[in-house]
């Protein structure tokens, strides 16, 4: 904003204070890791052991699934010029929808489909409100979150008599023999189908955005909708498609979240518990690149997995509630150090082609 002109030279310079601080942090971390490798019996050593444990990667992957899907959804919406801050809400309805349908039909895959449908319907509402009725996107996104936060437990209450649903079956991990026993990376070959779906979705999203016509149009719609319009592509339609796609992707994420536990928990902030917001953080970090978003998701999820393990192993004598803040504090620090992302120029703006 206003400070940018003045700030610009500080943040963009080769050796800004932030870059320096980031470098120092990286060096310190590297030092800690080296120290850990050299002296495995120390705290640092145990830390490194946890860090390089195969199960840490496995946990990271699992925790990444809902966040990564939501982040991909957020990328499509925002790249097309519609900031979708309601990802959290989409995750919530799909988490409930997934379990409900899995419960009714007994099939996890029907559940997944229902989760996607539920999320897409809510995304459609969001799209209509933002695109048709020119709603402020941020506020409408918040509304979507609030609606879902009420609606899913409401439905659960009606159907199950409480905000938490019954238990349903979950899916088993797909283990690729041989490969799954590789140290550390073996976790990549012994994971639930949702993890593989996540990788597939990241790849497909990357391809769609970078290699297909639709991806070009999404880009143009967020950067310069008028250019797209004058090139003869219907901006409204592209934006609808992108927002609905964000619904579909969030549907995968939410359903994967609840179906890998086999229950929807709707009390409090529900089982989604801020993952949709984290997703926004990660795609901003990832600079709207699906691969970047995946990596930053894994950074966050990895920290989350790490803090759970650090608690269990009593590494670093820090009170447990404080250990839990590690991922959040890390996000703040990283954001402060490398804070700037280039957001699509027309994001947040309503676009009306020609006259009405």
């Amino acid at each position: 904003m206003s400070s940018e002109t003045v700030r610009g030279r500080l943040t963009d310079g080769e050796l800004s204070p932030q870059r320096v601080a980031g470098l120092v942090a990286a060096v310190l971390l590297a030092g800690l890791v080296l120290w850990g490798f050299a002296f495995p019996e120390t705290q640092a050593g145990r830390f490194v052991a946890i860090l390089t444990d195969r199960s840490t990667l496995a946990a990271t992957l699992r925790l990444s699934v809902p966040i990564a899907f939501a982040a991909l959804g957020g990328i499509f919406a925002e790249k097309s010029g519609v900031i979708n801050i309601g990802l959290e809400g989409l995750l919530i309805v799909s988490a409930f929808g997934g379990v409900y349908m899995a419960d009714v039909t007994g099939s996890v895959w029907m559940g997944l489909a229902a989760g996607i449908v539920a999320s897409t319907l809510l995304a459609l509402l969001f799209a209509v409100v933002c695109i048709e009725f020119r709603a402020d996107q941020i506020i409408a996104g918040l509304a979507i979150w609030l609606i879902a936060l009420g609606l899913a437990p409401f439905a659960s209450q009606v159907v199950y008599g409480g905000p938490n649903t019954a238990s349903v079956d979950t899916v088993d991990a797909i283990v690729i023999p041989g490969l799954s026993s590789i140290p550390f990376f073996g976790a990549l070959f012994s994971a639930t189908p949702f993890v593989y779906l996540m990788f597939g979705a990241v790849a497909a999203s990357w391809w769609t955005l970078n290699r297909t016509s639709f991806g070009r149009w999404v880009n143009a719609s967020g950067e310069n909708p008028k250019a797209l319009d004058t090139a003869g592509v219907n901006v409204t339609r592209v934006r609808y498609a992108a927002v609905l796609l964000s619904g579909v992707l969030c549907g995968f994420g939410g359903a994967a979240l609840s179906l890998s536990i086999g229950q929807f928990v709707g009390s409090g902030s529900t089982m989604v518990n801020g993952k949709g917001f984290i997703a926004i953080v990660t795609y901003l970090f990832g600079n709207y690149n699906p691969v970047g978003a995946l990596l930053s998701t894994m950074l966050f999820a990895g920290l989350d997995a790490l803090q759970l393990t650090l608690q269990a192993r009593d590494v670093f004598a820090v009170p447990q509630p404080l250990v839990r803040t590690i991922p959040y504090v890390t996000v703040i620090i990283v954001l402060a150090l490398f804070g700037r992302t280039r957001i699509p120029k027309a994001a947040g703006e309503h676009y009306e082609s020609g006259d009405e």
């Binding site: 439905a155 905000p163 079956d169 928990v265 518990n273 759970l308 608690q311």
Partner: protein, 393 residues
């Protein structure tokens, strides 16, 4: 006031139900029948009520007083649940089961409230206390967080009987029920410690060589600390060499966090994880099943309420909230409600107990069972004193 049968299940009645009206699956039935067509397990007040229970009784008979068995009492009970709501498969559901038992045995009526914030407790309590249509004969307050509110509300309504579970409120019209969770947890720890040091295989899991067990808590606090403390003490009672890993997820509603916490422990060699984490605990069971290891449930017999995890739930540290609720209601019905009383429910009173899982109880070695039983007796007799603060273990 209209009475509804709120425990209704339209499961198995069709996909259309999701969207609402389309299916028209529900609505007034006029007869209070249940449509429990789906043959699946339910989360209802499925009963593990007493040792003889084991089935999936749906427990949703009509709430119409008089229509069901019992003496047809016109007693009305208002229940204010703990935050977290029904369907947690443990604490609140257990309380509900107690009131439903009273319903079926004495034909009482009840009305439930599910606050979602601490600040609402007081208002809910007042709502019930001040209501005249119907007049509530008893207000059951579930959960220690209600204590402060109740200690203010109770004196305002001296003629109203209250019950509080999990805390003590000193007032003439409040019956307090507290549990010695650490005692029950000690038994859980005893069992876990013995099993992890032996070679045990049954159901979907088996123990390993490592002498490691785990504990997953919801949010740090004194109450959950009692579970952790008792459990740790129980494990150490078997052998000081056994390592107990302990993690708090920070929420009672985050099963994915519970799952990861438990997985992290299983991966570090733990084979049995005990949870005191409400909904978060579902993730612990899930993790146990995936890892071919074991878990210990809490509050209710979770091998029943979460029957899909029957093959990994060794036992549950049952906390008889239902007994507390039922007893209070019963006392009101029978006219011997005792305000100002404090009922402490420990092992001795069968207020807490270690209940072996439905799927595995026959596989647990008898030496373990007998040792657990003898430890239980030692605790009751006072030979073993169980700490209630984990930092004292």
């Amino acid at each position: 006031m209209d009475r509804f049968d709120r425990r209704t299940f339209i499961k198995g009645t069709g996909i259309a139900g999701l969207v609402g009206l389309a299916g028209c699956t529900g609505g007034p039935t006029g007869g209070g029948d249940n449509e429990s067509g789906g043959g699946e397990e339910t989360t209802t007040a499925g009963g593990d009520t007493t040792s003889e229970s084991g089935g999936n009784e749906t427990g949703n008979e009509s709430a119409d007083g008089g229509s069901s068995g019992g003496s047809g009492s016109d007693v009305n009970v208002g229940v204010v649940y703990a935050t977290g709501g029904l369907g947690d498969g443990s604490f609140n559901d257990q309380a509900q089961q107690g009131i439903q038992q009273a319903e079926s045995e004495y034909g009482i009526s009840y009305n439930e409230a599910q606050p979602d914030e601490v600040s609402q407790f007081k208002n809910f309590q007042q709502q019930f206390a001040s209501s005249t249509d119907p007049n509530y004969d008893l207000v059951s307050c579930i959960g220690f967080l209600q204590a402060d509110a109740l200690s203010e509300v109770a004196p305002q309504y001296p003629d109203q009987s209250f019950q509080i579970v999990d805390s003590v409120v000193e007032a003439d019209n409040v019956a307090s029920y507290v549990f010695k969770e650490h005692e029950g947890s000690f038994l859980a720890g005893q069992m876990a410690g013995m099993l992890t040091t032996s070679s045990f295989s049954a159901g979907a899991g088996s123990t390993n060589e490592e002498k490691v067990v785990g504990f997953v808590g919801g949010v740090e606090g004194e109450l959950i600390g009692k579970f952790e403390a008792g459990y740790k003490a129980g494990v150490k009672n078997v052998s000081e060499d056994i390592q107990v890993q302990s993690t708090y997820v920070g929420s009672f509603n985050e099963p994915s966090g519970g799952k990861e916490a438990a997985l992290s422990m299983y991966n570090a060699g733990a084979d049995i994880v005990y949870h005191a984490a409400g909904n978060t605990g579902t993730g612990v069971f899930q993790a146990a099943q995936e890892q071919g290891a074991y878990a210990i449930g809490v509050d209710r017999d979770q091998s029943v309420t979460k029957s899909s995890y029957q093959n990994v739930i060794l036992a549950s540290m049952v906390k008889r909230v239902d007994t507390a609720v039922f007893n209070a209601a019963e006392a009101v019905v029978q006219g011997n409600f005792e305000g100002g009383s404090v009922t402490t429910l420990g092992l001795e009173q069968n207020g807490v107990a270690l209940v072996y899982g439905q799927g595995l109880k026959s596989d647990i070695p008898s030496d373990v069972k007998s040792e657990v039983e003898s430890v239980r007796e030692s605790i009751i007799s006072g030979d073993i004193s169980v700490p209630s603060d984990p930092s004292n273990v």
